[in-house]
């Protein structure tokens, strides 16, 4: 049974799609936001945005663009979880959420005892660890840790990079011998991988860490494995890249895609009254819009989550990889992969709804 509502009243899927198409068709500048969707959903959403001249944004663009900015402005070395598992003799965890971000990966990362090339035990270092985190590392592999509070990260990373390059450092909260010891340990690894949650590191810390890894590669081998953000942000990024040339926070208002991380920020646009209709997609979970301004909303969600302001149209869609097969970003292989439906249902997918909205719009013009 389809589950769809207009102004809180249960309606057929067909009626909800017709109302959504009507709202979007009448809009002068719509926004497609949230974008928590699989590849098919993202493809359909971006095609619809082009047709509507809409802006597109993802609920995790802040974190995602932070990751991306270190690449498009500096230097990045990156690898996959599978490669880290088979090659790394050293894992450098950075920030308190580094282990939590590996929720899907502990069997890949920590259950193994080092690179086959020489069979040595894999060692672990952790900068600003979560001291309450349950040990994930196995016996005898307790990490060397430096730093206590995440607020130390910027200074600590800068100090560590300086010491690796043999430069002097000023005052730091963490004791200098501990920094020197870690710097020496990193310089001596054969193939190290730095792992962190993208939510933990700001733009400057991310760039500093990538710069440190690049420096280490002058003599030894080191790479990185940044993790997240969630809601298939990295998969949607890939789709957005090939369809528009740009990441999210782009718009088709002037017919050719434009990318502007400030101008096409969802919350800013809605709060400033620049958009007059928002299509919110959250097929993975409970995320709801953060804005408080009044704007007509069409919500495609997998869970009936309470919104600050009720949506005009709500359509319940299947959860990718659970209700239906889905292509998503897989951290294990560092690319797009097919997840078979864990509990196949006949819930309509976000992609199907978006295609039907586009079809309805086409029929109406």
């Amino acid at each position: 049974m389809d589950r769809a509502w207009i102004d809180g009243k249960a309606v057929t899927l067909k009626a909800a799609i017709a109302e959504a198409a009507k709202l979007l068709g009448a809009s002068r500048f719509p926004l497609i936001a949230g974008l928590g969707a699989d590849v098919a959903g993202a493809r359909a959403a971006i095609a619809l945005a082009e047709r509507l001249g809409a802006a597109i944004d993802h609920m995790h663009s802040d974190v995602l663009l932070r990751r991306l900015d270190s690449m498009r402005e500096a230097e990045v070395m990156i690898t996959t979880a599978a490669d880290a598992r088979t090659r790394a003799d050293y894992l450098l965890l950075v920030g308190p959420n580094a282990v939590a971000a590996c929720a899907d990966l502990p069997h890949v990362l920590f259950g193994h005892t080092g690179p086959e090339a020489d069979g040595r035990l894999r060692r672990v270092g952790w900068i600003c660890p979560d001291r309450r985190a349950p040990s994930a590392f196995g016996e005898g592999a307790e990490p060397r840790s430096v730093g206590r509070d995440p607020s130390e990260l910027p200074v600590l990373l800068a100090a560590l990079r300086a010491r690796i390059a043999g430069r002097p450092i000023g005052k730091t909260r963490a004791p200098k011998p501990a920094i020197d010891a870690l710097a020496a340990e990193l310089a001596a690894v054969q193939f190290g991988v730095a792992i962190w949650s993208a939510t933990d590191l700001g733009p400057m810390e991310t760039e500093m860490l990538h710069g440190m890894v690049a420096d280490l590669n002058a003599r030894t081998r080191f790479s990185t494995l940044p993790l997240g953000p969630a809601d298939n942000a990295l998969g949607v990024l890939q789709v957005c890249g090939w369809m528009t040339g740009f990441p999210m926070r782009s718009a088709f208002g002037r017919s050719n895609p434009e990318h502007d991380p400030w101008r096409f920020d969802t919350t800013r646009m809605v709060e400033a009254g620049e958009v007059d209709c928002a299509l919110w997609i959250s097929a993975y979970g409970t995320a709801v819009p953060e804005w408080s301004a009044a704007v007509p909303v069409i919500a495609l969600t997998s869970v009936d989550a309470p919104m600050r302001r009720p949506a005009r149209v709500t359509i319940e869609v299947g959860r990718p990889g659970a209700d239906h097969d889905a292509i998503e970003y897989s951290a294990a292989i560092g690319g797009l992969a097919l997840s078979a439906a864990a509990k196949p249902s006949n819930a309509v997918s976000a992609a199907q709804v978006l295609v039907q909205i586009a079809t309805t719009l086409r029929a109406g013009t």
């Binding site: 990045v76 088979t86 086959e116 193939f191 292509i327 292989i333």
Partner: protein, 545 residues
């Protein structure tokens, strides 16, 4: 639907045809002229124009995780404002999948091979290819830096085991062929090796680059995959690397081999700066090695971004990044490096590279064995093809350019002494007949009865660049897709792939290998037909039995 193109000069070297005549098309295929009195449903008068089969590009990086990373790395270089063919979704964008198909089609190209797909990223590559309109496409799957193959060679397993693995990879990733990139080099780089040549040994595995190339060459041949092993040699871009290319050519022995973007290996160490052209020697070696084919990888001047699975080479090139940013992605088996680069006409090294490419084109005698590429976007974007064709066909145009380049660079090449000019027939061979044969596409690259009706019609213009930039008419599967450079169709083509026979026990072996080694299922890298949101997205190309 019966169509007739009438009165054009038909240039179809595969069928030894060069003369005024008609082309008849029915249901997407070329047919013999029907009996007198039969009228076509549609007739195109192409009198005075040149009629060729659709162009085929054997090596152009148009899709996949590597290409997409380059897009995301370079937001400032997108051409945001372009005329927008209304029939194609998103064709308003600059460097997108949608633009790629349109830009190729308007030049009269109808089939393009993406030559560097890491098996773990095959699904991504095919998703992008499915969003490239109009043209047909294909992928080459990369092997040769992967633990499984190196493990087979390390354990001295049988050639049959290598063949089964190659066949399994082609099936899972839906590739048309196999490419090897700096065989063993990326793997050696993981062990902190910084330079790697043909007879160097990959640490831990104890196999040489040469052994990897030979094993793959043999497997591809024995499986009957039409396209020979596609080789990106060691030492790309380095002074003196002509020796590596010559050694690789010698290693081809009696089996077919294809060397990619040979221009990047045509360098000697002569002159004050220790960098010179050795294209003449290289061309001579190609001329006398039957069964060897090459593509050029021509350099043209301007800003570009280099995309390569040669992780070691891209890492070593990071200091030359312009603008100053780069990405090295290592991954399993095959990673990639993205390094932006600007080729400048006043740069000594870039001028030599430009000349080496043209020397190879002009000194390799048989147009069936030299292929037309820029290694897009590594030497230049594919949109420079019309200008390169003009340089090949006009020695005066070359002389004009030579006069603008650093004299001390040109002095270290043979280019000024070469008077050869390509004929239109040779261009048709190099860009149509020969690539179809190289890839095993019997029904493409020619205009004989039974061929897919991929046809490009050009104005017979003295300005060859203008002629090839915007084809007068382009047909894909008999459908008019471009007219005078304007796109007239939003159709989507298919991906061509081979599926050689294999001993199915390899499937079980791959499953336990992936589960044990990576903790993942090998299904993660299988490209199912249902994942591609287009009707009938693949076309099977038969293997040679």
């Amino acid at each position: 639907m019966l169509m007739r193109l009438t009165g054009g000069r038909v240039l179809d070297p595969a069928n030894s045809r060069d003369g005024t005549g008609d082309i008849w098309i029915r249901d997407g295929r070329i047919i013999d002229p029907p009996l007198d009195g039969v009228r076509a449903d549609a007739t195109y008068d192409v009198a005075g124009k040149i009629v060729m089969a659709g162009g085929i590009d054997v090596h152009s990086h148009i899709a996949g995780a590597n290409v997409n990373t380059a897009r995301l790395l370079m937001p400032e270089y997108h051409r945001a404002a372009q005329t927008r063919p209304e029939t194609t979704p998103l064709a308003s964008a600059g460097w997108t999948t949608f633009a790629t198909g349109c830009l190729y089609a308007r030049m009269g190209f109808t089939t393009v091979v993406e030559p560097a797909v890491a098996p773990h990223h095959a699904l991504h590559a095919h998703l992008e290819l499915a969003d490239i309109p109009i043209i047909d496409k294909a992928t080459l799957s990369i092997l040769g830096n992967d633990d499984f193959l190196l493990g087979l060679l390390h354990a001295r397993e049988s050639p049959a085991a290598v063949s089964d693995y190659v066949a399994w990879t082609l099936d899972a990733t839906r590739g048309l062929g196999i490419k090897v990139v700096n065989a063993g080099g990326a793997m050696a780089f993981r062990s902190n090796v910084r330079s790697f040549s043909l007879d160097d040994v990959v640490p831990y595995y104890g196999v040489t680059s040469r052994q990897i190339v030979k094993a793959l060459q043999r497997a591809v041949h024995e499986l009957g995959v039409p396209h020979p092993l596609h080789v990106h040699c060691n030492n790309l871009g380095l002074a003196g690397n002509v020796e590596t290319a010559l050694a690789t050519i010698a290693a081809a022995e009696d089996l077919p081999l294809h060397l990619a973007h040979l221009q990047f290996y045509g360098y000697g160490k002569e002159g004050e700066r220790g960098f010179s052209s050795e294209a003449a020697r290289l061309a001579e070696a190609v001329n006398r090695t039957n069964g060897l084919t090459i593509d050029v990888g021509q350099v043209m001047f301007g800003q570009t971004v280099t995309i390569s699975s040669d992780v070691l080479r891209q890492f070593n090139a990071r200091a030359q990044a312009h603008p100053k940013k780069w990405v090295i992605f290592e991954g399993d088996g095959s990673g990639f490096g993205i390094v932006p680069y600007a080729y400048r006409p006043d740069d000594f090294y870039n001028a030599i590279q430009w000349a080496v490419g043209l020397e190879l084109f002009l000194l390799i005698e048989d147009p069936r064995r030299v292929f037309f590429t820029t290694d897009h976007p590594n030497g230049a974007p594919f949109t420079t093809y019309p200008e390169i064709l003009a340089l090949l066909m006009d020695r005066d145009a070359r002389a004009e350019w030579i006069a603008k380049l650093p004299r001390e660079a040109i002095a270290l090449t043979t280019l000024p002494s070469i008077s050869r000019e390509y004929t239109l027939s040779e261009i048709a061979t190099m860009t149509r007949a020969a690539p179809a044969k190289l890839l095993g596409l019997a029904d493409r690259g020619h205009l004989g009865a039974g061929a897919v009706a991929d046809v490009a019609v050009y104005e017979n213009d003295d300005d060859k660049a203008a002629m090839f930039r915007n084809a007068a008419l382009v047909f894909k599967n008999g459908e008019l897709v471009a007219r005078n450079g304007e796109i007239t169709s939003g159709r989507f083509g298919r991906a061509l792939a081979v599926r050689p026979e294999r001993d199915r026990s390899i499937d079980r072996r791959m499953r336990s290998y992936y589960e044990d080694r990576y903790g993942i299922s090998p299904d993660l890298l299988v490209v199912p037909e249902t994942a591609i949101d287009r009707p009938d997205p693949f076309e099977l190309v038969p293997c040679v039995t």
